[in-house]
């Protein structure tokens, strides 16, 4: 009993919980900044720059505006961070999945948990009463709404595809562990022709969900002083920046698990080749799986976030909404129709 409790504490605090999210999330953000810099022919900041930013912000004084609701102002960043760490617990790392979470959790839970960071940043911004935050939060709400439709359509088509393939009860499966399990047997979903439009649509949803260029109208720092973050300073600001980095990790690892889930099967052969057996083999497999996932996350970040950042300028909020509900939704819908007719 106590051992179980300790085990879950380790899951939440170390891997795949807080510590793992903290290190890989900030590292991913650093790699993203470096990549964007290299694409613009700059030297760019060191890869550890987000770590420096975070720790520096922890060492700064925190100013709470006189007009703000102090409790909401200080608790909102923690709420967003906590929900992202919980979300990361639900995403399997190829074969590594926490049974207690993976068996009950599915993509519907992930959809709900993905909303909480956006809600927390809206709450925090609204509590300050700053006009910049007011503009920012109205834009953030529109962005969240715009991203939601294509995201749901993508998840539906993936669920339907896997559901029919494994013969689930209603012909649709929302379980992430089943989706990854199917891919380990039947190959990655990115190789299935009918799901390629969905993969592209998901790739386009990633910068919108994380609030990166060109879909960052809500946090436009040159225009509305980072919107909802305008009044934040010190450690709470650092936690928001950390949440942003972890959200990049969450979205990219979700993409990797949904569409590249079959790649992890190759690790088995490698471990067998070295001639490891038993406990050592399991440990090595998990470590290799984590490295592989992180590598794929970096690739998805490079294509889905950095490249898009380097080549585009910021869109207006109505353009973002229009873009997601026409182009991206159409791609996802195409996939859904193809999958529904069994292609």
């Amino acid at each position: 009993m106590i051992l179980d409790a300790l085990k879950y504490l380790a899951y939440v605090l170390i891997f795949p919980g807080f510590l793992f999210c903290f290190l890989t999330g900030l590292l991913l953000a650093g790699i993203d900044r470096k990549l964007v810099a290299r694409m613009q022919k700059r030297v760019g900041p060191p890869i550890l720059q987000p770590f420096y930013d975070f720790f520096k912000l922890c060492g700064k004084k925190t100013i709470v505006p006189a007009a703000a609701n102090k409790t909401v102002f200080l608790m909102a960043p923690l709420l967003g961070l906590a929900s992202l760490v919980v979300l990361q617990l639900f995403i399997p790392v190829f074969r590594f999945q926490i049974a207690a979470f993976s068996n009950v959790a599915d993509m519907i839970v992930i959809l709900y948990l993905l909303l909480i960071p956006a809600v927390s940043i809206i709450m925090g911004g609204a509590s300050t009463g700053s006009p910049y935050a007011g503009i920012g939060l109205s834009r953030e709400m529109v962005t969240v709404l715009a991203c939601e439709l294509p995201l749901v359509l993508v998840l539906l088509s993936v669920g339907r595809y896997v559901g029919t393939a494994i013969g689930a009860k209603d012909g649709i499966s929302f379980s992430l562990s089943q989706i990854v399990g199917y891919q380990l047997e039947g190959g990655s979903l990115i190789t299935k022709a009918s799901l390629i439009p969905a993969a592209i649509a998901f790739l386009l949803v990633i910068p919108g969900e994380t609030g990166n260029h060109p879909f960052d109208a809500a946090e436009a720092e040159t225009e509305i002083c980072e919107g909802m973050l305008a009044e934040y300073s010190g450690a709470p600001l650092g936690v928001f920046k950390l949440s942003h980095a972890i959200k990049m990790l969450t979205m990219t690892s979700l993409f990797v698990m949904l569409f590249f889930g079959g790649v992890g099967a190759g690790v088995d052969n490698l471990v067998a080749l070295i001639g490891l057996t038993g406990g050592a083999a399991t440990a090595v497999t998990i470590i290799l799986d984590i490295l592989l996932m992180f590598l794929l996350c970096v690739v998805v970040t490079a294509v889905g976030i950095s490249l898009v950042h380097a080549v585009t300028a910021r869109l207006k909020i109505e353009q973002i909404f229009k873009y997601y509900w026409t182009v991206v939704s159409a791609l996802a819908l195409l996939s859904l129709v193809l999958v529904w007719y069994g292609l």
Binding site: V43, Y52, K56, C58, G59, T62, I63, E231, S233, L237
Partner: protein, 148 residues
């Protein structure tokens, strides 16, 4: 360990807030050029922020006119400690050619403690980077003193 990390990081992640106190726009353009691919101050961690609450270093350009004085001082007060104030160009340092004008309230050092002066009309980007780098070291020093 946490304190050590903070001390280590303070000088490596300086975020700039730029105030135009009646500048002719020459220095403002030159400050932006520091962030372009040619000089790329981001390799030292510099980043322009939109809100004074996010900033570590305040860069003031212009001779501090009567109209802008109150706004400059209020903006500087909103920057959380530890902070550094850098004046860019000769105007906020001495008034430059506007010295003695009825509408100029400067120099800035009459009102707040200025940490680094980068002189010139306008200073070269190399000089600006040098001044800002000096400011990051003062920033790290200030953080150390703040803890005591």
């Amino acid at each position: 360990m946490f304190k050590k990390l903070i001390a280590e990081s303070t000088g490596k992640s300086p975020w700039l807030f730029h105030i135009n106190a009646g500048s002719c726009n020459g220095c403002d353009i030159e400050l932006v050029s520091v962030l372009t691919p040619r000089y790329d101050a981001e390799r030292l961690g510099f980043k322009l922020t939109g809100s004074p609450r996010h900033a570590d270093i305040v860069v003031v350009t212009g001779p501090v006119t009567e109209q802008s004085l109150n706004r400059v001082l209020r903006s500087i007060e909103q920057v959380p400690d530890p902070k550094c104030i850098v004046t860019m160009g000769s105007c906020p340092q001495s008034g430059n050619v506007f010295r003695g004008s009825y509408s100029v309230a400067g120099p800035l050092s009459k009102y707040v403690h200025v940490d680094v002066d980068v002189a010139g009309c306008t200073p070269k980007p190399e000089a600006v980077i040098d001044g800002l780098y000096l400011a990051t070291q003062i920033l790290a020093q200030k953080r150390k003193e703040m803890k005591k």
